[in-house]
Symmetry: C2
Subunit: 314 residues, 2 copies
């Protein structure tokens, strides 16, 4: 029997570590706050890894998942949620500290590795993971292998431009897909609708000011059956589907795995997404439609995928 | 020494066949008109293949490239340029006729195989081919392997929607990339500019009617240094670059290979495409920029790639 594998997902506020058994079961887990600055992060990761490895009597491999642009060599070029970590060689630093190889990848790439190997997409050869959170992240499996790209930067699908005259994006361009189809996109769609029209119930739930509308207010009103909220959810579903149809044109996957915060309300969104996906797909009558599935690993996807990096990177 | 490989590219008007030697050299070639209907096409292909194979004393493999949606089993689901061929099992039919296996793929996938193995992208592991013709086709290499997708339909990149409120596309949707960045896109951008503004020289070259403006008129006027035409070329370059930046976000390639009819005027377009690509790339300061290269196999790319299918499919 092979040794268990250790993975840690570095988030903006906490680091979630897991040890994964041969069958994908979690044998141990721990959480630590994410400190500020590269040196402190590495010290904390090393302690967390050693503690977890000690709990299970040793591990076969160590992997790290992080948000942002992560190179094939395990260097964080930029990470929106971490402070003071531009050009952070986390792979090399942690490897030196632990005295063993450390695999590093983007958290969305970790998530697709996890869902593909032990989650919603087991046995598939062509899969796209779409994490719908504050922004949109992605990970790609093609030909039964993880696609990392020339630099390790694949899956920045939230920044596919779907309207060059659209709203400005923090990335400096306009009309990126995540301006429409993420959690913040949902809130923006709702605010735009609320300013122009009534959307009485959504605005009530937001405390009375249309400018304060958040995604949660839309969800809550939609769950009450409010027709204005359901119309916003439908429009949101159209934008999600537009991006999924675009990705289908490029990569022809067997399945999408939708994850991230919005996936927790899958029941609310899946109807509109499925309806619009069927309408927006290119040549829908000539092809089997990709399955739209939801992630099953929840908050563990990044850490579980990090634990699997040693085997999916090689 | 291994036997040479045979490939035939089925076009709307002619079928171009080549025999490829071990080093990628063309040992023989022939052209036949494309007949109408599945049975006649198969008969013509069989005769062409036997004649070419006879010229070189036998071939190791036979491959076919075709425009349109081609399944992994070699069935043409739909092909815009061929008459009476919906659901055409060209792979099986030709294989039965020749008594040997026949590999079939989309012509744009063939083109990327050709440029990757014996053309502009030799030695790369992550490549996207973009054929800019009447429409836009594409082919993808990732992890050093051709990406075919679940059904064989990867690379329909011309139908990535870049503006949901854009001009209608024959595919039934609106604002597909090829409405802007193909040969017909260039003509449309020029007509829109010509109707609203002067564009005197372009309209003269089109015979005096702005509605008759074609891509060639823009190219000719731009080569004369006409500033209106150069502005249209710049706008066109922006749209090409927008799509390339989108694909970079998804797949992080080392290089793009631009092919198709418009690549013949590469000198006219490369400046604007390169300028806008640098501006539209996500996180341009944090990554090596993919190389923008032009196809070198010209009209032979499809046939050469078809000849290589037996080795790149497996």
């Amino acid at each position: 029997m092979s040794l268990p594998r250790l993975g840690i997902d570095i988030g903006g506020t906490k680091c979630l570590g897991v040890v994964l058994g041969e069958d994908g079961m979690r044998l141990a887990e721990s959480r630590r706050p994410t400190p500020r600055g590269a040196a402190a992060i590495v010290s904390s990761l090393a302690a967390q890894a050693e503690e977890l490895a000690g709990e299970v009597g040793g591990v076969a491999s160590v992997g790290i998942g992080m948000p942002g642009l992560v190179t094939r060599d395990g260097v964080i070029k930029a990470s929106p949620n971490l402070v003071d970590v531009a050009d952070f060689p986390v792979g090399r630093m942690l490897s030196e500290r632990l005295g063993r190889p450390v695999e590093v990848d983007n958290d969305a790439t970790c998530a697709v590795a996890a869902e593909w190997r032990v989650g919603a997409a087991v046995g598939r050869t062509d899969v796209i993971m779409v994490t719908l959170g504050t922004g949109i992240g992605g990970g790609i499996v093609a030909n039964g292998r993880l696609v990392r790209g020339a630099n390790g930067f694949t899956g920045e699908i939230g920044h596919v431009v779907v309207d060059p005259d659209g709203p400005p994006c923090p990335c400096g361009r306009r009309g990126c897909w995540e301006r429409y189809a993420s959690g913040s996109g949902l809130a923006r769609l709702a605010r735009e609708a609320a300013v122009g029209k009534r959307l009485k119930r959504i605005v009530e739930l937001a405390g009375g000011d249309p400018e304060n509308v958040r995604g949660e207010n839309v969800q809550a009103a939609a769950r009450e059956g409010d027709p204005d909220a359901l119309a916003v959810v439908d429009l949101f579903g159209k934008w999600v589907a537009l991006g999924l149809a675009n990705l289908t044109n490029v990569l022809d996957p067997q399945a999408f795995v939708l994850g991230g915060g919005l996936a927790a309300s899958a029941d609310l969104y899946i109807g509109p997404i499925q309806k619009w996906f069927t309408r927006l797909l290119y040549a829908p009558e000539l092809r089997p439609h990709p399955d739209l599935t939801f992630a099953v690993l929840g908050e563990y996807a990044g850490a579980v995928g990090a634990a699997l990096l040693a085997e999916v990177h090689h």
